[in-house]
Assembly symmetry: C2
Homo-oligomer: 105 residues x 2
């Protein structure tokens, strides 16, 4: 691979795609833009995602330090997902993607 | 799904992800930034892609009017792939992705 006008250093784009190269991941990040969300809220918003896929995507995002998972000692127990700074730095990318969609879809 | 700060209209982001939600697709678009490329040039630049995958990705991009395929009546025959305007409009997204990678990788 060669670096060009897009990449300053070889591998920068691949590194972002390791996180974002999945449709659900991008839509989860979009949904977390408004603030912390519970698992069931994300599941409802994403409509056709399976609980297993959503769970895998969220674990993956936590592993990459894109979201944090916070447990509340309530009854029933509550779990919320929040974007980290790394996660919030995806928002300009998502906005640019949505603008492309608005222009060309 | 709900539109929010990211999307003006529901579905804009999904529509971009239909094209870009694949690692190879994004890297192919990056490589075409510099100008038209032949199949073998893309294959060499992407290193680990299989010819079958590259061919499928390029067919898909042609179908979505992101790239055009031009045949030159030479011997041996030459085929070149070029970004369309829709394709060039992906470049700000790729740049934003590469910037994220440069900051966070």
């Amino acid at each position: 691979m060669n670096a060009n006008a897009i990449e300053q250093t070889e591998g920068c784009l691949s590194s972002c795609l390791q996180v974002l190269g999945n449709k659900w991941t991008a839509l989860i990040l979009r949904d977390l833009t408004d603030g912390p969300k519970r698992f069931t809220e994300l599941e409802k918003s994403l409509e056709t995602i399976s609980p297993r896929s959503l769970s895998q995507r969220l674990d993956d995002l936590e592993l990459h330090k894109i979201v944090t998972k916070k447990h509340f000692a309530e009854s029933p127990p509550r779990v919320e997902y929040t974007l980290t700074e790394r996660g919030r730095d995806f928002l300009p990318i998502l906005k640019a993607m949505a603008d492309w969609g608005a222009k060309h879809a």
